[in-house]
């Protein structure tokens, strides 16, 4: 168990290093922040001064190492725009984002998993067909299109819900729906196939053959097995809690991390972009780690050593 945990932690750390390095390389290769921020017409001395101030005049590898050293000390630099600490700028946006992504995750799981289970239980019936048609619709319509359609119907035509702003809980309804439908569709399909796979297993027939009523077979024997693959997908979704709302935040002018990222990229505000990417990497890696731990809880075959008994 210790070895298992150690290996996972090592993998998690390595993933973060890779993401951060990748962010560094891409951002340095994609244009000169001094030019973007200062505008090309600025006097050359001013640009040079800017470069020195941000360390952009030093060799790339030196920038890379000092960047890493700084990160290790929790030093994530300042926004090139207003000089405030990047971390503070990013952190203050997180509550707004979570206000959308957490309810969205709940809706995805709350709709997707039961829909998938029912589709599998009533395989080839109209319930199954309806669920699958909705699921395909859910994840084929791009979320900005869906968002705009929902705004047109519920905000513009019917006037039931606001299309932007954030002064009441009603503001989150349209963005959350926009964000959840695709994920609910993916989860429904995935849960359905996991469930069908499990329902075809011999141990399900064993349970029925020993007199377990069907509802209890589904609850007690099928669901715990189908949960194992489904948890992976939910884990991915947890990993996108921080950065998964880029499109929706833009459509609904929601002041979260996603919109901050879009603006920071447009402005070449390196420190902010790096900070967000680091945060995203940490969230995803953490989510993955939790999924791995959950696997161990859900699937005794992955726990490694035998728990009891002599061989």
């Amino acid at each position: 168990m210790i070895g298992f945990l150690g290996l996972r932690l090592l993998r998690a750390a390595l993933t973060i290093v890779l993401v951060v390095s990748f962010a560094f390389i891409v951002l340095r290769l994609s244009g000169d922040p001094a030019m973007t921020i200062m505008s090309p017409e600025a006097p050359p001395e001013a640009i040079a001064a800017f470069r020195t101030a941000w360390g952009l005049d030093r060799p790339v590898w030196e920038q890379y190492f000092s960047y890493f050293g700084a990160i290790l000390q929790g030093e994530l630099g300042q926004s090139m725009r207003d000089g405030r600490p990047a971390m503070a700028v990013v952190l203050e946006r997180i509550p707004a984002t979570l206000m959308l992504t957490i309810p969205a995750l709940i809706v995805k799981v709350g709709i997707g998993v039961p829909a998938g289970v029912f589709a599998a239980l009533y395989r080839n019936s109209w319930i199954d067909r309806l669920v699958m048609a909705l699921a395909v619709a859910g994840f084929t319509v791009p979320s900005f299109v869906l968002g705009l359609i929902l705004v047109l119907i519920f905000a513009v035509s019917l006037g039931w819900l606001p299309s932007g702003g954030q002064d009441s809980w009603r503001n989150i309804i349209l963005p959350v729906i926009t964000m959840s439908l695709g994920g609910a569709g993916v989860l429904a399909r995935f849960t359905r196939s996991a469930m069908l796979e499990v329902l075809g297993q011999p141990y399900i027939r064993t349970a029925t053959a020993k007199g377990v009523p069907w509802a209890a077979v589904v609850r007690g024997h099928a669901l715990p097995n189908a949960a194992i693959p489904t948890v992976t997908i939910v884990g991915f979704m947890v990993g996108t809690l921080i950065a998964g709302a880029v499109v929706v935040e833009s459509v609904f002018s929601w002041p979260g991390v996603g919109r901050l990222l879009v603006v920071a990229v447009a402005n070449r505000d390196l420190a902010i972009v790096q900070c967000i990417l680091l945060l995203v990497a940490v969230t995803m890696v953490t989510a993955n780690f939790i999924v791995d731990l959950l696997y161990g809880v859900l699937d005794p075959r992955l726990r490694g050593t035998a728990s009891t008994g002599a061989h």
């Binding site: 297993q201 011999p202 141990y203 027939r205 064993t206 349970a207 029925t208 053959a209 020993k210 007199g211 377990v212 009523p213 069907w214 007690g220 024997h221 715990p224 097995n225 194992i228 859900l298 699937d299 005794p300 075959r301 035998a306 728990s307 009891t308 008994g309 002599a310």
Partner: protein
């Protein structure tokens, strides 16, 4: 017509199958099976792969998937099982008729401790819960010869060998104190030495519990060893039945003779030639008359006229072949 040649029914049948038919999406798999099992007796069911041995019992217990169309009658005591409500079937399954399967490793739920799986049957059929269920599960593990029974209750299937898993399956089957145990090729997936142990165990629990046993097997030697009555199936029909002695000493149907000739112990240079040529007919494209005709050395044009019914060979011994003198 009485099945299995029980003319004078001295004993009430425990289970009585009449005209059982099964079709999967319109393709017939069983074409009218008659079969009786009396209390406490051991019946062997043999035949090549795909002839319908498993489907017969899965259909009888309502365990087939939805696309299977089942017809005929299966009576347990006085009770009709085909089309019975779910609550009735849930009481019968595991309570009066238990079933164990070929591959014990996949027949046990991988994420539930084996002890709990046995306790579930004890709760359903004997109302035992908590410590009482645990103690009884432990006793059953002991009875089926699982070493360290108390410890093994907490194991998962993947932590145990195939033979031990099959012992768990047998313990689980015994939990409901059934009148009948269906063992569907219970040793096919196991090593030879373990096979013998499991068969010994089956024989012992059958005798200790006075339980009837249906043993489905490819292995005629095993059936000869354990069973007093034998049914031979071919292409979804019963083509010969009788006492084990009658079937093994004086097989009447050309198919049964072929099966026996193919037995390794009986192979001599001359008999080997009798081993059955050809393959089982496709269920969607059956021969017009006797299903065995394409492979039968004694087939004649009369065999294509219609499907032969079981005819009496001797007391309690019947075979479905036109060459049997009536």
């Amino acid at each position: 017509m009485p099945a299995f040649g029980v003319q004078s029914s001295v004993m009430e049948n425990l289970i009585s199958i009449r005209g059982l038919t099964v079709a999967f999406d319109g393709v017939p798999a069983l074409r009218g099976i008659d079969l009786d099992v009396q209390p406490g007796e051991a019946v062997g069911l043999v035949g090549e792969s795909g002839c319908g041995k498993s489907v017969t019992w899965l259909a009888a217990l309502g365990l087939l998937p939805g696309h299977a169309a089942v017809g005929g009658s299966v009576r347990l005591g006085g009770q009709e099982l085909l089309g019975a409500p779910a609550q009735t079937l849930d009481k019968v399954r595991g309570g009066r008729v238990a079933m164990i399967f070929q591959d014990p490793a996949s027949a046990l739920n991988p994420v539930i401790r084996v002890g709990r799986q046995v306790e579930e049957a004890l709760r359903l059929h004997r109302g035992l819960t908590g410590a009482a269920a645990r103690a009884e599960a432990r006793r059953l593990f002991e009875q089926v010869g699982i070493p360290d029974p108390a410890g093994r209750l907490n194991s998962f299937a993947h932590e145990m060998s195939g033979g031990q898993n099959q012992r768990v399956m047998i313990a689980m089957a015994l939990a409901g104190r059934p009148d009948l145990l269906i063992a569907d090729e219970p040793t096919t997936a196991l090593d030879a030495t373990i096979q013998a142990q499991i068969l010994d165990l089956l024989r012992r629990v059958q005798q200790d519990h006075g339980m009837a046993l249906v043993l489905i097997s490819h292995d005629l030697g095993v059936v000869a060893d354990l069973c007093s009555k034998v049914g031979v199936m071919y292409a979804g029909r019963m083509i010969e039945d009788g006492s084990a002695d009658q079937i093994f000493q004086s097989p009447s149907h050309p198919y049964t003779r072929g099966l026996l000739a193919a037995l390794p112990e009986m192979i001599g240079p001359r008999r080997r030639l009798e081993a059955i040529q050809g393959a089982v007919p496709n269920p969607a494209d059956m021969p017009p008359g006797c299903a065995f005709a394409p492979r039968c050395t004694q087939a004649g044009s009369d065999c294509d006229a219609g499907t032969p019914n079981l005819r009496r060979v001797a007391g309690g011994h019947r075979a479905a072949c036109l060459r049997i003198a009536a």
